[in-house]
Symmetry: D3
Subunit: 276 residues, 6 copies
């Protein structure tokens, strides 16, 4: 009923679906324990609700708690998460909960560094579909925790007309028209362009968002001027922390950046469990 639950269950299954043979050999009766997760570097937190869900799925009666929320900064050495519950559940959930939070906090932390670098408050920095298979929804939440925005979630909740679509349709105009007839009036149509001529065609065809794909700064500046507020303008391609402000300076409205997710690395944290 829910895609996020699916990935958590898959993650638990791959780690302990057939049991934890070490622990189950030793814990012949039920024990309770307390686990605390401590930061081993400073980072922007993401995934804290997922970590709670991991433990709740394994032990519905356990009590995970954190005074932090996604998007908060956690300092090196801080204990930021506690969970009290069935010891077997803590031991099974430990690695899975950490794996989720380490990856997601890595994305939030990298995203935050981009946001802090960006000097143009009206420019919307977004992610892309370059996410880890199965973790799309979670990684996009982590991007928001870091302070950036989301692009479309998938191929079905946003329209983006690319060169292959134009080739099949015969022209930008035909492509926009075909899509308009098939989709609801609640969706904007975006067209990917690489030249000013394509920008002009997209505008004529009624595109509401125009992507400038891999254009240089000068081309982008001219395109923005040409469009002149008649469509939202998105820059895409070769976006890094060092090019970010130069791109923003061309006047575009949106900058989409795959690096937010696919260049992120896991942050370091660990869990200590005390038996009672």
């Amino acid at each position: 009923m829910n895609t996020i639950d699916n990935i958590i269950k898959l993650a638990l299954f791959e780690d302990s679906g057939h049991g934890d043979i070490t622990t189950e050999s030793i814990l012949l009766e039920s024990f309770s324990g307390t686990g605390v997760i401590v930061a081993k570097e400073s980072f922007v937190l993401a995934g804290v609700e997922i970590a709670k869900k991991v433990f709740k799925l394994l032990d519905p009666l356990c009590e995970p708690y954190s005074s932090y929320s996604d998007g908060d900064c956690v300092k090196d050495g801080e204990v930021f998460f506690k969970v009290k519950g069935d010891l077997l559940a803590l031991l099974k959930g430990e690695r899975v909960a950490l794996n989720f939070m380490q990856r997601l906090s890595g994305i939030a932390t990298l995203t935050r560094s981009f946001i802090e670098e960006l000097s143009f408050p009206d420019v919307r920095l977004t992610d892309t579909r370059k996410t880890t298979p199965g973790l799309r929804g979670l990684e996009k939440e982590a991007v928001r925790a870091g302070g950036a925005f989301n692009h479309r979630m998938s191929l079905y909740d946003g329209i983006l007309i690319k060169d292959n679509h134009i080739a099949v349709a015969g022209s930008i105009k035909n492509a926009v028209k075909a899509v308009r007839n098939r989709t609801s009036h609640l969706m904007k149509i975006e067209v990917e362009t690489t030249t000013l001529d394509e920008v002009s065609q997209a505008l004529d065809a009624g595109a509401e968002v125009i992507m400038l794909d891999n254009m240089n700064y000068e081309q982008m500046t001219r395109a923005v001027k040409f469009i002149n507020g008649k469509a939202v303008v998105e820059a895409s391609g070769n976006v890094s922390i060092s090019t970010l402000n130069k791109i923003a300076a061309t006047g575009v409205d949106v900058i989409s950046c795959g690096a937010l997710t696919h260049q992120a690395r896991s942050v370091d944290m660990s869990m200590r469990i005390n038996t009672e």
Copy 2:
């Protein structure tokens, strides 16, 4: 029936489970196309069979092909993957296939750099369970493609007795005995230790593998000497490319390293699709 198929299906579902509204608005009849994937930096390839499966699942009649196998080096600019088939399937599979290969090749590439650094050919460098949720099996294959070895896959196919187990069992001896009774004679028992005294107890208890957890070089050297070939010795904790050879020099048999998977970044590649 198969955990790897599950994650591929989940990845396809999250991206186009409800359709690709742009493409489906335009492709009212069936078109065929050809896609080629080109490397945009040099890397060690991993995930090539997964990419084939992605396209095969979307179009059972398509023909994915690569002259490269997992573990091969691909040079910047090379076309290393081709697929001919239904255009809708190519457009739906593009991002998912890339997301898999980019992440997995990132792991293989990072692993290869560790392997090339390691000067002790008899030392076995392994991964850990610090993998992306849902991708455990695939990331461990990528580690092997990079030239390293796998540690246990999950909590049910390898035994590792940690401090919590020992606390509950009362002693290392009790813990080893309990596990021995519950598990098959095909499994070795590993005990995590942090002091020489614990090493000694583990050896007496009949542990077949002893993990030296977060010990310094001197402690590790003394432990290896003490164990003296009576058990396999594994070093764990703070393993990086700069500490790798110093750890190996202590005489341990195995070095397990979470960085292989959780410090890897996606490598850059892109797909071009031609309509026919």
Copy 3:
């Protein structure tokens, strides 16, 4: 991997998941047969590809064929579908294929009558979310086969701010702003209004689509005039074939109509199977 396949499989399961005890008692070896489906009244066809899928799922080697496509008119008495294949598959698929096509063609036929009545070619008639549980995607396809358009598919691919949202957010302005921050730049924001004052607030807040909910003709006329092209205007509530043109005459852009799906009845058709 696909929501439409899910409902087909569920439908087959509920009818013959544990087998067809009558047929399986008699068909101890494999027989082939030919089935033809004949219209028992005139209608607009929808669901023909689903019917093919039903038979293909039961017998991958069968050959379903129709010279008609969704949206075509079928006359009373015409044979419009043939399928040749395994007799057991034909007998199992018969009722399920008919149940799908009868319901979906009923929707297409009713929708077509609305479209033929509508004298304002620029007004977009759409469906709503008032669809049969499980059949949302198929029924929305049937609406398009009938000649109308789709509103959003679900709660996640279109934004509609209603009174409850406004109450929680404190004002229309707050609500629009909150949604804008959370969603991609590819989505338009629609606000439901019941008075001119709300229309004015929605416009000020930057709503791109404004729904006039259950307004009378005069209110709608005044709202359209007030909005004056600055947002798309959608009329909703009490839309029937007799009010359709009067609503359209107020100048609205979109009319959404639940009756297209929930007042439709199954059309009559039957299948004859010949054993070979």
Copy 4:
């Protein structure tokens, strides 16, 4: 574990499986609310337990309540259902719960009109397998709520030998014998007949139920006389509210009628939600 839960989950998934982007953008903390469902025409209620399940699945702590049961008459304007709970759950459940109850109450209402028309209290009016794909079980419950009876649920819980079976078996006698051997002694065998000669053969073969398919009143009268209580007699084909009593007058025991389900339309009701 349960087919009815499956369709509810599928219905919730298709509407909000990936979230409710409007509500989730605004409800950043938890709110509670109260919803009431009001009848907008008079009808026979069905599906009230399903509606409760919808809300319970979304918020296990919510409190759905109705003083009405399936089969009760609800008057235009009456509030017949209340639910208090998490606001997000109410907003997600609203459309799905209504869609179920509107369709099912439509069936119960139409069925009730048939039952009230029928002047022969000993004749059993039943539904058929002409139900909405995925909703078989629920629609058959709605038929009972309307006061009629159920025919078999599917191809595996009732035996009906049709012309194709007879053709393959060689004769009615052979077909009955084959089925008798394969099925339990708890099932009656029904044979479909179109002529008096077939009726005679079915009786000789030991059929316990004989279907008179599309016979006229005179044929039916003669068949009933011929059978003379040795088998249950079922009339099938062209059953409408205007032919109902004429068919019953021929003396048949059972009348099966597809119209109960496939000619029903959704009844009108709506939900109001108050935020607290």
Copy 5:
């Protein structure tokens, strides 16, 4: 879509869902092989189509073949099954296919010994619901392969009123009436009885099948006489190969026997695989 496929997939998953680590370490390229299954004792075969499905699921291109069908006798030493295909698939399928056929043939063999013992050809010997969890459908097929008949498959395709039902309903009469109203006219109603008085009540209530539960021979004889053909009579309880004919001699129509499934043991067979 099919319960039998589910158990086969579950069986394959539990044995090799995460792979066959031995074989996959060695078979780095594709090999083909041929497997033959040989009987290591004489038995009545059952499950041969399941075994074919096991291999087909693992290698859709493999060619399983047997000149025997379920119900045939296989002699000790005979090769009765061959399969040619992908070596990895043969090695993964071997144990699962054997486990199915060994258990199912064990049931068929035991059932055949009961059938050969039974001297009353008109008495119907049936199984019960005492089957291995998950294998119900397959074990009931094996019973038929052995020559006996099936009782109901489950709680939903046959009616059996027991003491608890009667207690709740207040009387046998009430219980029969309640069930009659709720179920289709294609189902017979069976009532479990332990005394002649209950038999009499069941007959008066219109029960079509009467179960004599754990009665002695004399009681059964009197009950049969009392019923006098007005209902089908089933004997149940303490049925073994030594009591079988004595029970049959009392004149009952049906004897149900749990031993057919729960006293069966696996027959012996093994598979030899040749690499090519």
Copy 6:
């Protein structure tokens, strides 16, 4: 998320997934009841936790209780299990819970007889993969309840090199080396041998466990002597209660025995339910 839950759900589904038509016709409101399970012969109990789960899945509020644990002896006539809860749940769970416990206790009882026969306390008696499809995990727990040990659970958690692997690899040495590279250092490698020469090769190749397959007592004695403690020695093939001690006397460490699972028969027990 859990393979054991899967088989329980499958078992419940096959028995009452579409409902219990008898009970549901009669229990129009909720009743509570108490069930007790009584032994009808003496046996070693297994599956008691599974039986609890069956009832808990059907009625989360019910209270199953037993003063016995798996491995305890239950005497003929003893009441060893009670459950109080919703009557419908008791009636639905009865047969499924019994079917699990009867089969599993049958295995535990047979295993216990082997263990009591075995005069060599240091020899480890194990099961094999010859288990009922779908019940692998449960049957292996029952074997432990009986007092024996488990061999590997499946093809992925234990390594066993057989003749086909050796044929493909070219030699025992090559096969062991290939497997060593592919698997973790926590797994022992077992090689199946049929001659002393193969034993010698396996030992040279570094096999940690050597299986003597179908050797006679003399061959086994010589092999054990030859191996001389350098590897664990497992005897396999033709193990019965009468050969058990003769095999153990040869000096082997492990005896694996398929009969523990595939020659077991269900023990007799029954459930009485009282309505309240």
